[in-house]
Assembly symmetry: D2
Amino acid sequence: MAAEPFLFPYTISLHDSDAAGIIFSANLFRICHESYEAMMAELGFSIGYLLKHRPFGVPLVHLDGDFMKPSRVGDHITIEVRVAELNRSSYRMEYLLRTPDGTPCARAATVHVVVDTKTYASMPIPAAFRTALERHYLPD
Amino acid sequence: MAAEPFLFPYTISLHDSDAAGIIFSANLFRICHESYEAMMAELGFSIGYLLKHRPFGVPLVHLDGDFMKPSRVGDHITIEVRVAELNRSSYRMEYLLRTPDGTPCARAATVHVVVDTKTYASMPIPAAFRTALERHYLPD
Amino acid sequence: MAAEPFLFPYTISLHDSDAAGIIFSANLFRICHESYEAMMAELGFSIGYLLKHRPFGVPLVHLDGDFMKPSRVGDHITIEVRVAELNRSSYRMEYLLRTPDGTPCARAATVHVVVDTKTYASMPIPAAFRTALERHYLPD
Amino acid sequence: MAAEPFLFPYTISLHDSDAAGIIFSANLFRICHESYEAMMAELGFSIGYLLKHRPFGVPLVHLDGDFMKPSRVGDHITIEVRVAELNRSSYRMEYLLRTPDGTPCARAATVHVVVDTKTYASMPIPAAFRTALERHYLPD
């Protein structure tokens, strides 16, 4: 099965916005994290499962993002989520936000390190999790 | 057509939670507001439309809520949204959050006043908006 | 020493606001919780301490609030925080938000239950914590 | 007067954290934005003023950040805020978060473009605002 992006539809909420009338910057990452959580659940590694059973942790060590055009309350967007890098113990997620006509309005990336939940030391990505991530592995 | 509640499915996200492991209290209202925005969009009075065209405003003047049992990341809930009071210039929304087996885990209410967007003075609920709200008007 | 309210100065931030130009409703409770955390730290029962050492938990079971007048980005407010009810195993906090000239612009209340962190069963408020709360105990 | 960083003390709140026990990633940017707003107010260009009088806008077009070590509820940090780039119509802010012993625990950057509030087109940084920003201009 060829890898493909995970698609996440989202509608900009009032709480995403601020008094300047557009998305409050930090909320870009909160919204992208929602799409990441949905992807993780689809892959069988939901954040709820990871928090409860603690097979490993996936803390975020880096984030970056860009706004191409302002988004407003009620705007419908689709987030294309993909695994852009898959290293020994870390992976980079890329998020592309598009308006309904396909125009990119923002992008973001997050880098996660797989860690032992007791020692917080990095560890190799477990084989089953790596196989799952490959479903959406589309390097740049 | 008989009035019925507006149903809104929601999955508790990592950003809804706090270090105590459960929903951070204020987020109950943020989540309920998402369900309110979805209902308003369904009724043809989306918040995005109200912000853009400013036919009237619906500021919130009161909120209250109760937690019956803790919700955790990944929990699936359904919010039953209804208009519980429909007065001359204000209305009260009620939100009942249920777990998949139907058990209530939280409830909340918000009271909104219809105001003139220029003077911020209260005004009667416009007829078309009242008719729309009646679709989900289920008094206590 | 006579009981007195705990005072907490706060400036409305861009992230507190929404596209309607005023505080997003749920953020009233987030802001009040910041003042509650500052009071708990002053009393020697910081939330960080409670989370780390788990002598008992203080989950929130009820919230209510009212907006008297809109607050905007950059507005300076002072929150008067007091313990309004002190029961066997629960307490109610009251928060009064005032503008610099003393005008109330919002109020809120939160009810907390003291629980065993293992069983989550309610338990009597420990004596030392009760004594601490009495420093700001000003019943209605 | 030599340029120097703007210092902003901050205590990690419960609402900054998530069920993993540490700061929820997106909140790094919300916290840094609070320090940016405090700096802008000190410089005489508060966000509240910009929103009310609209002499120009300063939308954010890029963000990036890194976590060096986890921060928990109640941790006291100091944010060193500086203007790291000062271009014709844009500027880059850098934020360094330190624990009380001086150890960096996170960093972030935001890039802002000065725009006409009517056309949203970029415009040169106004002279008075440039002079103000120079108070904290410390290029890499």
